[in-house]
Every structure is written in C-alpha cells, then in structure tokens.
C-alpha cells in the first residue's frame, strides 16, 4: 500500500490521501511513467508483446504501430515536464463495436470484417484526445449478441481463470484482456448485461452507466434504447477514473444529455446512512455459493456503516421476456441497414441475380446464427398480428418494471443482487439452445430496461476458483455511490486472487508485478 502523493494529473485532489488498492493499475502505471522507471514506448511494447503471446484470443486486432506513435508522443510530453491527462499513456483495449477512425471495427461479424470506420466513437475520441494508449480491438459476441463470447466470427475468447470456461459476453475480450494483464482497462458495451456479466466471470469491476451518461455516437447499434458504453477495470478506482473521462454530454447523441458527478471524488466518502436494498427476486435461481458470497458482501458493507434490508421488485422475474422482445425488435430494425451495398459483406456476384436477391444473400451469408435468430424474433414481434401481444405489451411492462425499480430506489440508495446466478460456465455448455442463452442474463437486464446505472464488482471465489460478482443498481446518475461502495468493499476485504493466466511482463527492467499488477 502506498499513499498517492504525486502531483500526477486532474484527479490528484480526489485521489490524494486515499490508500491504493492492490489491484489498482492506472495510478501505479502513471507513477511508473512519471518517475521515468520506464518509458511509455517500453510499456507499450511490453503489453503488445504479452498480448501477441497470449493464448486467450482476447484481441481480434493489435494496433501496434499506432500504439507506439502514441507512446512516443507521451514520452515527449513527459520529457518536457508537461502535466499528463488522467489516462495518458495507459495501455487499454476497446471492444470491437466501438468505431475507430482508420482502424477496422468488425463487431466480430463476417458482415463487417472489412469495415474501416471513417469517424471515431465519442467515448473513444475523448480517450484519444488524452493520448490513451490503444493496444487493440477486443473480441466480443457477434454484434454484441450473446453471453459467452462464443458467437464471434474470430472464435471464442477463453477465461483467464480457467481456459475451459467462457469469459462471459458480449464484452468477453475486453474482460479477459484486463483480467489477464493484457490491458490496464478497457471499454465494453452493455445492452442486457454485457459489461457486468463478463466483469463478474473475470473478477473485474464493470459499470453500465445510466442511459444517457455516455455518448453512444459511433457505437455500432444493437438495441438503441438499451445500449450503453462503460469501463471494465481491475479496481473501483480505475473504473472511476475511466468513467469520469467518458461520461460527458455529446451533441452527436441527443440522448446523451447528462453526466454523473465525479466518481473519483466520491471514493472514500463515508457509508454512514447509506441504505442498501437486498433485492429478493434477484437471488432467484442463484447457486448457493453465489447467494452466500453476495449476502456476505452485504454484511461487509454493513460493517462499513451502510444499512441493509430486504426489498422486492416483483416484475424483475419477467425482465428477461420484456428485455428480449424489445431488444430483438430494436436489433432487427438496427441491423436492417446491412445490405452489402454501401459497406459490409458482399457475396460474389451471380449473373442471374437481381437487386433484392443479392441483398438477401449478403445478409444470409454475412450474419451468424445467433444474429439471425434475434432478427427473426424481432421481426416476428413487430409484425402485424403479433405487435400488440408482444412488442406493445413488453413496452408497457418495461414501464411498470421501471416504476417498480424507481419506487424501490425511493426507499433505498441502491439495490444489491448477484450479477449472475452461476460463475463462469464451461465453453460450449449453452450450446445451441436459444432460450438457455437468454437465461444467462436474468440478473442484469432489469437495469437496462430502466436505464439505471449498475455495477458488478468481485466479491468472492467459488470452490472451483472462479470469481463471483455482486451487482449494485443505483438511481439515475448515481454512479459515484456505486463506485464508492465497490471501493469501500475493496478497502475492507481481501481481493479475489489473480488468475492463473496472468501476463508476466516487464517494462524497462522494472517488474510490473512489484506494483501489485
């Protein structure tokens, strides 16, 4: 443990005086750079080399040349004694559905395998302006549709805690990269749990911000009224630093109108008087060791000064049906744009083929099975004769679920439940059963339906050595409290052990392991 006493950057006031946590990476790496224990170029090379050698398939593309260019710019600024921005020179990964100008962005689909965006996603642009060190694009389920990272056209990512296990999804590559030390942090996206579930499976802190807190401009759309971009990090401090950098209003996304107050500044504040509702329905179907770990977490937070009490949101148990009807409807509409004419996969021409036949073939050959399933369900629930019974009803129930959650949050500051009902399951276990795939998202979809912030943080380990995640759902723009609770939990408990697959890196002759990475 060391005390942050260096005049590092914009977050210095908030972080000064706070003890570091064992898994913090961003501040120790900046300290390393500023004290010139290694150059940013050396740091970039160490991470890139580890990523190249990794067996996990966390990255689908490494951007080595651009990373080294950025590193050189950072080194020049350090040499001139300039003040670094909060994430300047820190190695990171981006989920491959976030547009990066001049860098392929594939959504891990054959449909976009050759696609190179001509503009940056706002969330990435905000980091790029800080000279964030992009190492590469991270693997994911095709078009963010899946809970295992197995629907990627580049093959599955493996879980660093067990190579026979899934890393979760859809942001599985982003999670595995951070957990295995191949990136200091990453950005993922969360439509129905795609940040929190892989964060839980890989022992990370992952936060889905409030709908409208982070711009979706440049995020390749899955379900537009649910999608959010958020950080995946090894500690609450790291997640807070990243969130503070990307949560800004953006005129390019008309739904992005607000931003939470600084999360970093909230860390370390007292929990006295904080009321946490233990959400009864969220434990339904959870394995005993998951329930025990989450309830033990509540006890730890109580010891830190919070008050906990059981509460109920009855419609939570119908969250999956509501979510899948609406998300698939939006996905079928959003994915209607892929016709193979303006961009995307185009099949080899056939002489007799007309305009429409060619579009149908582009879509049928370009999309994978899970995407086709969801397009079909979405088209079905929007079609004449079924619209009222499915889509309209799900919209009405979404409003009721939102009201129930908001009502519970009038009595409590946040709600506690498991992130997932099991730890990471074996590769291939969900197989081809469509409904079984949906059920993996039971604990996470409600927050997306209501547009509320939700955070997963590691709270234990199973007998098999796999991480367990606890989830907090907060009030709109209540991210600082959620991150403070995760930070306080880290302060009071032993961290989840590092995974067996962890990159042994060195930078400038200094073992990063010495910094607790």
């Amino acid at each position: 443990m060391y005390m942050m006493d260096l005049p590092l950057y914009g977050t210095k006031n908030a972080s000064a005086g706070l003890p570091s946590h064992k898994k913090d990476r961003i501040l120790p790496l900046q300290r390393l750079l500023l004290q010139k224990e290694c150059s940013c170029r050396e740091l970039a090379k160490a991470y890139l080399s580890a990523a190249e050698k990794s067996p996990l398939n966390a990255y689908v593309l490494l951007t080595a040349e651009k990373a080294l260019e950025t590193a050189d710019r950072v080194d020049q600024r350090i040499a001139k004694g300039e003040t670094l921005a909060s994430l300047e020179g820190i190695p990171m990964a981006l989920k491959d559905n976030l547009s990066t100008e001049g860098i392929p962005t594939t959504c891990c689909s054959k449909m976009l395998k050759e696609y190179i965006p001509v503009y940056d996603a706002t969330a990435w642009k905000l980091l790029k302006e800080q000279n964030a060190l992009l190492l590469g694009k991270a693997n994911m389920d095709e078009f963010a549709m899946g809970s295992t990272c197995e629907t990627s056209c580049f093959g599955s990512t493996l879980n660093p805690y067990g190579k026979d296990r899934v890393p979760g999804g859809s942001s599985g590559g982003s999670a595995a990269a951070v957990a295995s030390g191949l990136a200091a942090y990453s950005l993922g996206t969360d439509t129905g749990g795609s940040i929190r579930q892989p964060a839980s499976f890989c022992g990370l802190v992952g936060i889905k911000p409030t709908y409208g807190a982070v711009s979706r401009y440049g995020l390749i759309a899955h379900a537009s009224s649910f999608d959010q971009i958020g950080p995946m990090a090894a500690s609450a401090m790291d997640a807070a630093i990243v969130l503070d950098s990307i949560a800004k209003p953006d005129p390019m996304d008309p739904t992005c109108t607000g931003a939470p107050s600084s999360a970093v500044k909230a860390l370390g504040t007292s929990l006295k008087g904080i009321r946490i509702g233990i959400l009864r329905e969220g434990f339904q179907g959870s394995r005993q060791e998951i329930r025990d770990a989450v309830l033990k977490t509540a006890k730890v937070l109580e010891r830190m000064g919070a008050h906990t009490e059981e509460c109920s949101v009855p419609l939570l148990t119908e969250g999956l049906q509501i979510y899948y009807v609406l998300a698939c409807a939006e996905a079928s509409s959003n994915l209607g744009r892929y016709d193979g004419i303006r961009y995307g996969y185009t099949p080899a021409p056939k002489e007799e083929e007309g305009w429409r036949e060619r579009i149908l073939r582009a879509r049928s050959e370009g999309f994978g099975r899970e995407v086709k399933r969801r397009i079909l369900l979405g088209t079905f629930v929007l079609s004449a004769g079924y619209y009222d019974a499915f889509y309209r009803k799900a919209q009405a129930l979404r409003r009721s679920l939102t009201q129930q959650l908001k009502s519970a949050l009038e009595s409590f500051d946040c709600l506690l439940l498991p992130t997932t009902s099991t730890a990471a399951f074996p590769l291939g276990m969900l197989g081809s059963d469509a409904v079984e795939n949906f059920e993996a998202d039971f604990c996470t979809v409600a927050a997306n339906c209501a547009g509320l912030p939700a955070l997963s943080f590691p709270c234990g380990i199973t007998l098999e050595g796999l991480p367990i995640g606890a989830q907090l759902i907060g009030k709109a723009f209540g991210e600082p409290l959620l991150l403070n609770l995760a930070w306080q939990y880290e302060e009071a408990s032993s961290p989840v052990p590092m995974p067996p697959v962890f990159a042994e890196k060195t930078a400038g002759g200094v073992s990063l392991g010495k910094l607790g990475l």
Partner: protein, 92 residues
Amino acid sequence: MLIPEEWSRLLSLANLSLSEEEKLSLRADLEAMVAFAEKLGDFSYPETEKDTSTQSSSELRPDILAPSLKQEVVLQNAPEKDEAFFLTRGKF
C-alpha cells in the same frame, strides 16, 4: 406453431434467405423463443399505457446545417462504386 405462409412472410420481412437446413433449425429456435416470450401474456397492464422510453423527455438537436462527411469518405467502404455513387444491381 407458425403456419408455412407466416414463416415465408417473416423471412421476407427479415430480408433473409435461408438454406433448407437453416430453415428447419431456426424455425424451431423461433418457436421456442416465442413460447418463452408468451409468458408476457400472463400480465395485465392498463390499456391506456403508452409505449415508453427510458428517458422522460427527448431532447432534439437544433435544426441547423452542420459539416458532413465528404463524398469520397462515405464511399470508402463501398464494395462497388464509381467516382461518385454506390453501384448495385438494377432494381427494375
């Protein structure tokens, strides 16, 4: 159970042309997913309830002209193009 005409209409609306093997398996998947979603029918809601979004109000951008992408940039990812247009098969 979807009748054959409904299934064909659905594929047409979804702009998908599937192989016979895919048709069999995806139709079974769809029926399982629809059965799963039918649980929504167990719940009542006020008939006056309107569709909802997660935000209480939408904010619209001012209707003003702003710089856009240049034509050659927009065409960069086109599989087939000439100097100024996307190329595709004739519709008629």
